[in-house]
């Protein structure tokens, strides 16, 4: 048995190792004395702590400096770019719009005609030292103004490949008015525009676009003011392609991808991470922490990564499992739950073939038997204990004016299930029972399947026959063709005041249920024509009340969101807005 030799070998090896295990590397002795560079961070003169915070908002790769082309327009992209390029406004932790005073000021100086005055901070400069000025504002407008020829169908083709189309250019015909090189300017809207605060009036550095296109800044201004499309073509060419990053991992040249915020791009590892570092030329409050690293990690890896310190701030999937895991980690992490701007609703089909379309009584009966509280308790409350039924469509429960609007528009009549009243309503409608109701939604979606089952349990008792007609073709086929009685899906809000007109007005582009109501239409017209917030609220109440009374549909709940962070990091505040949890990342500090 030669194998015996082997065991002798092992024994020899063992003995040798014992004899020689005294070997340790000398790094160990230093180890005790010198502290690690990351653990003991030092504050620099500028007030920025030389430290690193790892954050992940999802697994999607950063796409490029210009996030305003249709191809690069995504929240994942803008979440990072918003820390690099500031604008006049930001969303705070309640998703309310606030004026960014470090950048400048916004003031509505006249309502008729509607004129907004903007003032850029005197010290505001791009990261190459060039002041942020009127020219930049003018280019931003030009990118949504000019067309170049027509396509095959005779529609004008935009000169700039801007994701907003020609929206801004159509609302503001003459463009921002100001002096070349100036720091203040006015914007005059053609029609009253309640969402003017959301208009992005400055995005990219015009002097870079001019330089890269081979024209002088003066010529660029002249070309824009004179509407000279020929002269603007090279600028548009650069705007459309020059600020993109087609190969992942190669950051754009820092000389052209300028920062106007507390951070600028530091490094980028394709598929792994993007690091933001302080912008040396930032005039305002420097970031509290020097390195902000966005790691591209899928949400289901977030919790363990947070526990292991690979991530310090996370926004994982909002499930009950996630919360349990986070709770198990203990005090080392802080958990925040909140309502997102995505909200679930049931909409009645008013079109041809909708079984509840012609009878208000039947819709009321349905509303009376939908167990909204049970749905929230069973499916949402486990994730967000403070979750409540949503009783409005245009405001969210966490917004300041929610209570005012709901108390004026809705008396709580559908808050609790009343099977008997529902049955009575069906009788009143004088139709044969059971009344078949097809609930359409997009599959696969286990939560919506559960909601449909809960509705069936309750409403079948009242005399309905609920049919779960969830389908993977819901959005592409069933919804457009009206092949449903009740549609269940979610809208994601965008913080706009007037976006609901598209959904609830009779001719709205997103009015999929053929709802038509003169009161609602009129109220929307009044709302969008005024800039007075109180008048807007009045109209919102009228709209909400009418939508409840005529039962356009039933709002259910706002989707819950979960965020968690290393408890040693201060100033983290979860928000529902699209800026995500990093909305105030420049204030985070250990």
């Amino acid at each position: 048995m030669k194998i015996g030799t082997m065991s002798k070998g092992v024994a020899l090896f063992a003995a040798a190792t014992i004899a020689l295990a005294a070997c340790t590397s000398d790094a160990g002795t230093e180890d005790e004395n010198s502290t690690s560079p990351t653990a003991d961070a030092t504050a620099t003169a500028s007030g920025t702590k030389d430290d690193t915070v790892f954050v992940s908002v999802g697994e999607d790769e950063w796409d490029g400096y210009n996030d305003l082309t249709p191809a690069t327009y995504s929240t994942y992209n803008s979440v990072i770019n918003e820390r690099v390029r500031q604008t006049f406004v930001y969303f705070d932790e309640n998703s309310a719009i606030q004026i960014n005073e470090e950048f400048g000021n916004v003031e509505l100086i006249s309502e008729d005609p509607m004129v907004v005055e903007y003032t850029i901070n005197e010290d505001a400069v791009w990261s190459d030292g060039e002041p942020i000025k009127y020219e930049d504002v003018l280019l931003t407008w030009a990118a949504q103004k000019f067309t170049d020829g027509e396509d095959a169908d005779g529609n004008p083709v935009a000169l700039f490949d801007h994701v907003g189309g020609l929206d801004y250019g159509e609302r503001v015909l003459e463009g921002p008015q100001g002096e070349a090189g100036g720091k203040s300017f006015t914007v005059e809207y053609e029609n009253p525009f309640p969402d003017y605060m959301l208009t992005t009036v400055v995005d990219f550095p015009a002097h870079i676009a001019a330089e890269q296109a081979g024209v002088s800044l003066e010529d660029l201004v002249t070309a824009i003011q004179g509407g000279d499309v020929e002269a603007l073509r090279p600028v548009a060419e650069f705007w459309n392609t020059g600020w993109l990053s087609p190969s992942a991992g190669e950051l754009p040249d820092p000389a052209i991808a300028l920062s106007s915020g507390p951070y600028t791009y530091g490094s980028w590892e394709a598929g792994q991470s993007l690091t933001l570092v302080p912008n040396e030329n930032y005039w305002g409050t420097p970031p509290a922490t020097a390195n902000l690293v966005f790691r591209f990690a899928s949400a289901d890896t977030h919790v363990q990564a947070l526990q292991n310190g690979d991530l310090n701030v996370i926004e994982p999937q909002a499930t009950i499992d996630t919360l349990d895991q986070l709770a198990a980690i203990g005090d080392a992490v802080t958990v925040g739950t909140f309502d997102t701007l995505i909200w679930e609703h049931l909409d009645f089909n008013f079109g041809e073939g909708g079984s509840l379309a012609d009878s208000l009584e039947l819709r009321e009966a349905f509303a009376l038997c939908v167990p909204r509280q049970l749905i929230v308790d069973n499916l949402i409350a486990p994730v967000n204990p403070e979750a409540q039924i949503m009783n409005a469509r245009e405001v969210f429960p966490f917004e300041a004016d929610y209570d005012t609007i709901v108390s004026a528009a809705y008396d709580g009549r559908y808050d609790t299930v009343d099977i008997e009243a529902a049955a009575a309503k069906i009788e009143e409608a004088g139709v044969d029972t059971p009344v078949q109701v097809r609930i359409g939604y997009n599959t696969p979606n286990p939560r919506r399947t559960d909601v449909a089952a809960l509705i069936k349990d309750s409403c079948d008792q009242a005399g309905f026959e609920i049919v779960d007609s969830g389908s993977s073709e819901f959005f592409s086929a069933d919804l457009p063709s009206g092949n449903f009685d009740v549609a269940m899906y979610a809208w994601s809000g965008s913080g706009q005041i007037a976006s609901g007109q598209n959904i609830y007005a009779s001719d709205g582009a997103q009015n999929y249920t053929a709802y038509a109501n003169d009161t609602v239409d009129a109220a929307w017209d009044t709302l969008t024509a005024t800039l007075d917030t109180e008048a807007q609220q009045e109209q919102t109440i009228i709209i909400e009340k009418e939508l409840w009374d005529s039962l356009f549909g039933i709002p259910l709940f706002a989707h819950p969101g979960v965020a968690a962070w290393d408890s040693t990091i201060q100033n983290v505040a979860p928000t529902a807005s699209q800026s995500a949890i990093v909305w105030n990342a420049e204030k985070w500090v250990r």
Binding site: F13, P70, A71, A305, D310, N502
Partner: protein, 505 residues
Amino acid sequence: MTRYILRRLAISFGVLFVGSFLMYVLTINSGDPLEDLRESTANNRDTLIAARIDNMGLDLPWYQRYWQWLTGVGGCFVGRCDLGTDRSGSDVLSLLQQSASATLRLVTIATIAAIIIGIIVGILTAIRQYSGFDYVVTFLTFLFFSLPVFWAAVLLKEYGAIRYNDWIADPHVSVLQAVLIGIALGFVLQGVMGGRMKRRLLTGGVTAVFTISALLYFTSVGWWRSPALGPVLVILVALAFAVGITALVAGLGNKRVLYSTLTTVGIGSVLYFVLGGALDEPNWWLLLGLFASAIVVGLVVGYFMGGYSRGQAMGLSAVTAAFMAFLTFADRLVYAWGSFLQLKPRPISTIGASTPNFPGDFWETTLDWGAQLLLPSILLTLISVATYSRYTRSSMLETMNQDYVRTARSKGLSERTVITKHAFRNAMIPITTIVALDFAALIGGAVITENVFGWKGMGAMFKTGLTQVDPNPVMAFFLVTGTAAVIMNLVADLAYASLDPRIRR
């Protein structure tokens, strides 16, 4: 032979074509690519929808979209590959190049590790059939084989990363822990070694005592945070390897081979000191060059010292030289662990292929890279090891019961010669097929592993493509895995033919 290869290639091509067609049609019918936009209330929604329809060609009928993709891929034959763009307009070919490198790195390492471990374990269990060791390994392989990957990954992260990092911050092994680990290891080793009760006790006892004292000693000198091997240990281990491999393959009676491998170790030991300075801040090319020259040195030594068994001496000396080179490399890496821990106090990460902005030198960066690779590789390896060891075991047992093995034994050949020369070679024939096919399967299997460890490999590309109903990334994934499967299949057939002379015509 050429005709056979060509015929196989033609058939494979047809299979790929039909597969791609099915895959494409299934992918574009798997959902609604505009779903997220339809729920959006943004005022630029129509522009976004129009842009996506344009990017993805959603206004074209399905056969036209497939035809576009097919002609783009067809361009590869004339050097103009066009795999299309994903839904946001990025070029899929460049996405593929990036993700394929991450995936192949992971899969290659896992495959090699799994082959080595799997075959060794398989042979050992076959030799010790129906022993306690065999039963334990059988139990474990079935356990690993049926592990749900995502669950195992979570466990691995919990114990391999989070708990380990907590421990390494202040490494301490208590006496009780040391005794338990020592006894467990001793028990396992006596099972592997086998023999009479006295020998078993001796093996187990020595191992246990050694392990316990080593663990306690390491803790007392702070070895866990600042380990080192040192030249003496490197040389001793290399000598043990040289003797061991000679004993295993050639037999210690073959003095020529023994002296050849020992001389190689001697030259390696000299080089260990001579090249010390060059290894302070090397690069991969230098290391690769040194590795290659080590093998050449081994071959040369074997050539001049081999005498009558020149071939065997050259082979074994080259293997010994490679091992010695690897050991020197490992010595440097282990030495860098202490400074690596200072740069990265929690060494094992749960996500990512590298630590962002890692500042270390070559050795520390390599450690970081390895630390990130460790957990996903372990996971992939565990699953494949199960298959390999089972197949090796059964194949080995089958050969061991063959008549020619009995003949070899009755001729009076040593057990070593019977196993390594007669049984092992023939047992390897069916394993070749499994290994080749498994490589392609592993790329597919890596989808989940990559996902749970936050690697942006082909798995991520496949998954995002599928959830976004975006066919081009999915097809790129298919193209790579499909081609790998087809090629590996062919390789397996060819290897089979070269290993088994009966198949050749």
